[in-house]
Amino acid sequence: MIIGTAAERLDAREKVTGAARYVSDLVVPEMLHAKVWRAPVPHARLLGVDGSRAARSPGVVAVCTATDLPVKRLHYGPAFKDQPILAHEIIRYAGEPVVAVVADTERHAAAALALIDVSYRELPAVTSAAEALAQGAPVLHPALDRSGHFRDLSGLRPVAGTNVCQHYHYERGDVARAFAEADLTVEDVYHYPALSHHALEPHCAVARVDGDGLAVWTGTQHPFPVRKELAEVFDLPLAAVQVIVPLIGGAFGGKCYTKIEPLAAALAARVRRPVRLALTLSESALTITRHAVAVRLRTAVRSDGTLLARECDVVLDTGAYADIGPRVATKAGYRAPGPYRIPCLSIDARCVYTNNVPAGAYRGYGVPQVTWASESQMDQIAERLGLDPLAFREKNLLKRGEEYVAGDTPMDGDMADALAQTGAAIDWGRARERGRGVGLACAMKDGGGTHTVSTAAVRVNADGSVTLLTGSVEMGEGSRTALAQIAAETLGVPLSAIVVESPDTSITPYDHGTSASRSTTVMGLAVEAAARDARGQLLELAAKFFGTEPEKLAIHDGVVACGERTMTVGDVVSGHFGLVGGEVTGLGTFVPGTWSGSLGGATLFWEVGMGAAEVQVDADTGEISVEKYVSVADVGQAINARECAAQDEGAAMQAIGPALFESRVSEAGHLVNPGLIDYRVPTFADLPRELETVLIENRDGPGPFGSKGVGEGGTFCPAPAIANAVARATGVRIKDLPMTPERVWRALRDARGTRRG
């Protein structure tokens, strides 16, 4: 049984030897190089571009503005077609691509940028969601053109005449009455900052126009949605657009949906040669960001700790273009109450345009932001009521089988048990000395994506080797290996027999994308179905050779056995075709159900993530030291024991960044810290003395072998767990991230002042 083992990653060897080829390593014959001139101001009317000096610069082949691009549609976007490939008439954020240069070398293209003259007239800019919502704020997108790409986005509710491009609202129960009758009402506002994904490989795409078609190699998590977007940009049939994704150097949501592909493709079409567009790390930070979120949370509770009502007001800064912000806002709203039983709810989540860099998907997808608020407040409530924070949560946690929202999948895990394990792992009951504290948090998200389809194919070759065709992108999360394990186990062949092809929309069957913790479950089910299909065919063929029924046969380790008689899988295939050739192909598709819960579709599984932190606070400097962090993930069944735990650990460490020191800093719409010198990501120095992941495996997930999705849960809890630990260690509550030493010091000082005064 290969499931649940620590099988070696399929891509491990190539990655440790330097043989692995990422999209930025790719060389396409005859390719030219593109560089982008970016807007220096956040909001302006574009008056004119003079690229003549640049065009005469050595090696330059073309200098293009929006009107020079041979496209049928200039605008793209997964929710609204609001984002132009190059700025057209209006510049909406500092860093927005305005002019593109194509040259024979990167150096020549970069040198030409300095020779471009752009004239513009600055307009008043709104550089925060609050400014964008204020009376009289400029409306950045007066008319919105829905993309119509995704079913769950068909019900978007922008507010006309404002910068709100999506307003999610949900309510149930008599909220007003619940607040009136509550023993305690608590209201607070929390802030979560914008973050840069900083995957180590920046965005990169190579595009080539082939006769009537287009091929694009790109680091994307969504090859098929990108294909659709490109097809619409160029008015081509889907079959004429090919999107290929080799290994990519990290993504974390920053490579979701369409990014630089239309520009690379349009330039390739313009110059009739392949064009490579490789961004720098700083440029990637000017392409996409995490939503900065403000959460106002008001909670009504009984003195015994029973949650009665919650009012959540969530405001997301989606930047100049919506990207997938409307869905992030909807999900953030949906998840804001937390994993609890709360009879009365009133939720408003608004996705707001500003003149900042566009915000989109980022690991956790709104959950880290709303959980920062809700799990901080849970501890504040517990303190006011004199209750133990763990017991207070346990009392209100949804039980297995309980509904979160009417019509959606009931809770499919045992959260009370997960919470107990979290508490045990941090030794919750033991008192800590002054300046030291423990805190915990729990959260969940509806995992697997909404209305997403996956298809896979398993091709059994005549020598018994197997080609797995899947659109899942290998960006480090290990889907390539997990899916191969699922295929191997289901088919009955050794893992070493499986080769997984890179996603290629012309070859690998349709898949929605690699995000939302969906690949192990949704694509896994498709792979399992494909492998089962192939296995069934093999058994039918083998049965003929053995002169028996298929049910009497077993395949194990690549060998079909009928009692004592055996035959290799390869021999079955080649024997059937009568020569060393031919193949048996299995196909599997997973189409989600079509219930309608609040999100318009039933949740496949609940990704439950909990965390506990032990911290030491230096009262003089305000520095927080995380001594121990425990992350608990309910994964159903780990397909690969090691990679599953590794994903959760990595998620936790990544989220410790914004808890303590990581954030984008912008001044008047200008990103002050695009690169790594002034943007602090977690390093070895931040690794806690103890970092532990606990995987809960109750085999109660919908995926193959009882699996659920994993990969995002670890990001939910570090910030509130640490804040709760700090509060218990020092008595101060911090509501804005990151909890830098200065913030902590100021809060401690203010608290001392308040006590004295």
Binding site: T621, N673, R680
Partner: protein, 292 residues
């Protein structure tokens, strides 16, 4: 991307100085390049000529005179200082400070002379070395001068060097007998946000002399002489009581600015905290052999 330039590789300081004089603003000394090449790649500065001082023999290396003075060639790497047995034995606080500069790759290539001459405010070496009353030898064709290190720094990214001058040596006298020294820094960004160095010389239970240097916080690293005076002559116990006041004096004198690294008032507060902690460490290591 890095612009084109002509590389000049002199084999003597005089030759280097001559080239620098000839090309003025169009030329710059190139040692490790960890700051220079970075700024050139970003397009912040550009030069037509880079004068490689690594090809000048004798410009890198560490020596200790008979009187205990440490002599560091301008082109000596941070890593060489970090690992040099003599530095570690006689000036361990300097070796420790060097070991925490940036990361190991920057330390392997970056030089002390280059670091001091680039005069990035958020840096460590200048702050600590001026605690020792270090001097720097500055040579040009036809002459040389020696100045206190503190005078080298004029402003952010600005030194008192003439265009044709080369910083060839950093001379670090030993601290007096019965001295201890400590350097503490703070910050969570790539470059340090606050750096405080303290050296204490004791005499029969009294602080004969206290030296305090503060860097990273203001435009240049500086000795805090007013704060030093407040501590001089006190017993160890008395000095502890004066530390808070000394910290306040030093904080005010540090010219702290509010930037990405923090607010001015927080930095001033940290100056006080680090001063207190560094003082305790320096005092503790002043007993005994005297190696700081």
């Amino acid at each position: 991307m890095l612009g084109e330039f002509d590389l000049v590789e002199p084999t003597s300081v005089a030759e280097a100085s001559e080239v620098l004089a000839r090309h003025g603003d169009a030329a710059r000394i190139y040692a490790g390049g960890t700051e220079l090449i970075l700024a050139m790649k970003e397009g912040l500065i550009r030069y037509d000529y880079l004068v490689n001082v690594k090809t000048i023999p004798g410009l890198a290396g560490v020596r200790v005179n008979d009187d205990g003075t440490l002599r560091i060639g301008g082109a000596t790497s941070h890593r060489a200082l970090e690992r040099d047995p003599l530095v570690r034995e006689r000036f361990p606080v300097i070796a420790r400070m060097e070991s925490d500069v940036a990361n190991v790759r920057v330390r392997e290539v970056g030089t002390l002379g280059g670091n001091l001459c680039f005069a990035e405010p958020h840096a460590d070496p200048g702050t600590l070395l001026m605690l020792f009353d270090a001097t720097v030898r500055i040579e040009r064709k036809g002459g040389a001068r020696t100045i206190p290190l503190e005078q080298l720094f004029v402003g952010p990214f600005e030194t008192c060097l003439e265009p044709d001058e080369v910083l060839t040596e950093i001379v670090v006298p030993p601290l007096p007998v019965h001295s201890g020294a400590a350097y503490l820094k703070f910050g969570f960004l790539e470059r340090p946000s606050v750096g405080v160095g303290v050296a204490v010389t004791t005499d029969d239970g009294r602080v004969r002399e206290a030296r305090i240097a503060v860097g990273c916080v203001g435009p240049v690293p500086r000795r805090m002489r007013e704060a030093e005076a407040a501590l001089a002559g006190q017993t160890a116990a008395e000095s502890r009581n004066t530390l808070a006041e000394a910290g306040r004096i030093a904080a005010r004198a540090s010219d702290a600015i509010t930037d990405l690294h923090g607010s001015a008032d927080y930095k001033e507060h940290l100056v006080g905290v680090l001063l207190r902690r560094a003082f305790e460490q320096a005092l503790a290591s002043s007993d005994g052999s005297g190696a700081p």
